[in-house]
């Protein structure tokens, strides 16, 4: 792979490789949409696409496949749209090809896609923006002639033409503001859109009256440029949100969408919501439990890391109860459904998430907090100006009203409307470069305020994949044999062995078979060799040196010495330096894990984390967050598991790796797609800088008002001055916001570096990441 190596969590890549090879092709086929001309369109979400070279790589790889009419990759949405010429062509080769070239893909549910399209506001805003831009340019042209001295009939004509353009434009493009202001007023609140709408309507109304009566001063240009500038802010904000949402929605779905039912010896594929308690289901190796179930038959290892946070695989035994979402690793299992989808563990978690999320709704964005002060102040000033002039001019209604409206127009929060979105959009694109997706701007505001960071362990502080810590396998033949055996299995422990042992001679392996829950065995040079659970390996080998170990793996030739392999949980790259950086920034890091105390303590010690809690259930985690929040702390949660999802929703702000479960990614405000935990401190630093810039912007806007308002109240503002002052303040605010895109010179190298700095080779990465023995 070129510069495009996605820094994509390996556990996910593995899972998807397994998932794409699994026989549920029917599920894949259902993702296609048939066209009228017999073609079928598939949309795949490919989160690994992140640069121009990726587009070409993907398209070049897919176009020559049989039956492919066209393949087009979309960098903005990280999707690939493939058109196949007939419904009979299988989409499976597409997924396999993409996985082979390093772009794991999942079909996008077209229901989700349609919904996303319907909700797609940004196109509507873009059209409104274009109309406002057109109108602003033309009215400005006419206004310039008026300002440069057009007289009498010419001036009136120009005003009327301006009115003809401005009124429909504001009616069309200004709807966004009117609607929002209306709903705010109906709810008894004030937001920024209230003074905006008021200023737009009053400016338009007054200018209309002025031009119809042959007056000299009309504010059509102000009303329309105001609409234009404000729509720029709205559009940028909306686009950022949509992009992040579609990217998050797109990252591989881990939950099963259907289940294979076993009925009288025949298998049938049924949609998930038709599963009922008592049904017998078959879960293939690599599949996830569709509902809570009891194991009936089969042998396999279960990976519960995403569900409960336990790092070690669990052996499935008949009669065992398994939660929905647990990954079945090594062999097919027949299970009896205990619940339907609405009452499964997954559904419970969802319900907890919804309950937890209500707390966050109380957050008020900076702009709205400003509006609560700003809107009444402006309205009082305008009223004061009206009363003053009414008295001072001895009852000249027209002049007093005119001055009051001028105050409203001049103070219209044009710069305020841009102050926040421009900073957030630039912040989002900086984060995006560093592989972090942000859901919306308020997350950046909330992130800047945190003082406590809670981490989950498995999959967050650790990579979730084990690696080899130590082994006493003799070098040479034994080592080569163990490696050859391990290569026959996709179990994470086997992969750790393949990567951990030095490359050696290729040995001929005969009769290799994987015994679910035990390990791999095969004949090598005519002798039986086993790699797997120590107790199972000890059946054929003689006891090794030292005490027989119960954890880790063992390897032996029949009759030979039993050698042991110790595995450890690899820490995420930069985990230690991130924790240290967060502490330096004055934050309190804490570890909350669902795993047992021993592994949690080891990780905490390796990272020098003083505060940690083990054996936490989802409810415990929420309780801990609530307790911290009750003590006045602002809490950030970083986690990936299903058991973390409710706490991700409950925390003030949350972050999840791309390898997290669906629920976790949807609940998190930030999703980071690279391996390094550095993303956490990078996002935090950026959020702090963004907050500083937003504050500066507000200060600039207030400064502008401090100059403009007295002028307006004194009745000295003309349309020309208003136009210049308003544009100047907007440009100043945008220019100041652009400073966020200037990269810091010192530090921040790793996370700030662009896509060119890809994932280092595995061995190097493993060596760099400190580790703890598991």
């Amino acid at each position: 792979m070129s510069c495009c190596s996605p820094a994509y969590d390996l556990a996910v890549a593995e899972e998807e490789a397994v998932a794409s090879a699994d026989p549920q092709r029917e599920e894949l086929r259902r993702a296609g949409r048939g066209g009228e001309d017999g073609t079928v369109t598939y949309v795949f979400s490919v989160p690994a696409i992140h640069c121009g070279a990726c587009l070409a790589t993907v398209e070049r790889a897919l176009t020559p496949l049989p039956g492919v009419l066209s393949a087009r990759a979309n960098l903005t949405l990280r999707r690939v749209t493939v058109v196949l010429d007939r419904a009979e062509v299988s989409p499976v080769p597409i997924v396999e090809t993409l996985a082979r070239i390093g772009f794991p893909a999942t079909p996008v549910d077209l229901g989700d896609l349609d919904q996303l399209g319907r909700e797609r506001q940004s196109t509507r805003l873009l059209i409104a923006l274009a109309v406002a831009g057109f109108a602003a340019a033309n009215i400005m042209l006419l206004s310039v002639s008026v300002w440069s001295g057009a007289q009498a009939a010419t001036r009136d004509l120009f005003h009327l033409i301006s009115a003809l353009i401005a009124v429909p434009t504001v009616a069309f493009s200004g709807q966004v503001f009117f609607r929002s202001a209306f709903s705010a007023l109906r709810a008894g609140r004030l937001n920024m859109d209230v003074p905006i709408s008021l200023a737009l309507l009053l400016a338009l109304g007054m200018s209309l009256a002025e031009s119809l009566t042959g007056g000299t001063e009309a504010y059509f240009d102000a009303a329309v440029t105001l609409t234009f500038f404000l729509l720029v802010g709205r559009y940028l904000d909306q686009r950022m949100r949509e992009r992040a949402r579609s990217a998050v929605l797109g990252i591989a779905r881990l939950a099963a969408k259907g289940a294979t039912r076993v009925e009288g010896g025949s298998l049938s594929y049924i949609p998930l919501d038709e599963v009922e308690p008592g049904m017998i289901l078959r879960v293939p190796a690599g599949g996830r439990m569709p509902v809570d179930a009891r194991v009936l038959a089969g042998e396999s290892d279960l990976d519960r890391s995403l569900v409960t946070g336990e790092s070690a695989p669990v052996l499935a035994t008949p009669g065992m109860r398994v939660e929905a979402g647990v990954l079945n690793r090594t062999g097919p299992l027949d299970v009896e459904a205990l619940t339907d989808t609405r009452h499964s563990f997954l559904a419970d978690i969802m319900a907890m998430m919804e309950a937890a999320e209500t707390g966050r709704g109380a957050y008020v964005r900076i702009a709205d907090r400003m509006a609560r002060l700003y809107a009444p102040a402006v309205h009082i000033l305008a009223a004061a100006a009206f009363l003053f002039w009414l008295i001072a001019s001895g009852g000249d209604w027209y002049h007093a009203l005119y001055t009051a409206i001028a105050v409203l127009i001049v103070t219209c929060p044009c710069a305020l409307g841009l102050a926040v979105p421009v900073v957030h959009v630039i912040g989002a694109s900086r984060l995006f470069e560093a592989g972090i997706l942000m859901k919306d701007g308020s997350a950046l505001e909330r992130l800047a305020e945190i003082d406590t960071v809670l981490f989950d362990k498995t999959g967050t502080l650790t990579t979730g994949t084990p690696r080899l810590a130590a082994t006493d396998i003799a070098e040479g033949r034994d080592s080569d044999a163990a490696r050859a055996l391990a290569a026959r299995s996709t179990h994470p422990a086997s992969r750790a062995v393949v990567e951990g042992l030095p490359e050696g001679a290729d040995l001929a392996v005969l009769d290799a078979r994987e015994v679910p829950g035990c390990g791999v065995e095969a004949k090598i040079d005519g002798r039986l060799a086993r790699l797997g659970r120590p107790s199972w390996v000890a059946e054929i080998g003689s006891p090794g040196l030292g005490a027989p170990e119960t954890s880790g793996l063992a390897f032996a030739f029949s009759g030979g010495r039993t050698a042991h392999v110790a595995l450890e949980e690899a820490l995420r790259p930069d985990a230690a330096s991130t924790i240290a950086a967060l502490e330096r920034a004055g934050l309190v890091p804490e570890l909350l894990s669902g795993d047992a105390e021993a592994p949690v303590r080891r990780v905490a010690e390796a990272l020098e984390l003083a505060r940690f809690r083990s054996g936490q259930t989802p409810a415990d985690k929420i309780a801990r967050i609530r307790a911290l929040q009750a003590g006045g702390a602002r809490v950030m949660m970083v986690g990936d598991g299903l058991n973390d999802a409710p706490s991700l929703a409950a925390a003030d702000v949350s972050m999840a790796p791309a390898s997290a479960c669906d629920a976790g990614r949807l609940a998190a405000d930030f999703v980071f797609t690279r391996d390094s935990l550095d993303a956490v401190s990078f996002a935090f630093t950026l959020a702090r800088r963004a907050r500083a810039l937003v504050r500066q912007n507000f200060a600039l806007a207030v400064l502008y008002n401090a100059v403009a308002v007295p002028l307006a109240m004194a009745g000295l503002v003309t349309p020309l001055i208003a136009a210049i002052a308003m544009s100047a303040s907007s440009i100043l605010v945008v220019a100041n916001s652009l400073r966020l895109s200037v990269k810091d010179r010192a530090g921040r190298g790793a996370a700030a570096a662009g896509p060119a700095q890809a994932l280092p080779p595995r061995t190097e990465r493993a060596a760099r990441a400190p580790a703890v023995a598991a």
């Binding site: 587009l55 949405l77 274009a130 057109f134």
Partner: protein
């Protein structure tokens, strides 16, 4: 003065033409992948957005 009766409509017409061209571009999918388009220009292969 009379020249205005000609020039103002011309100015508006030109503006409307630009607006129309923009809507056409929007509808034909040229704004669907703004980031991708920035990269595609660097590709040597003949390439055009599909409708």
């Amino acid at each position: 003065m009379n020249v205005l009766l000609l020039l103002v409509p011309i100015a508006l017409l030109l503006g409307l033409t630009g607006l129309g061209a923009f809507f056409w571009a929007l509808r034909s999918g040229q704004y669907d992948d703004v980031d991708g388009a920035a990269w595609r220009i660097l590709e040597d292969e003949a390439d055009k957005p599909d409708a």
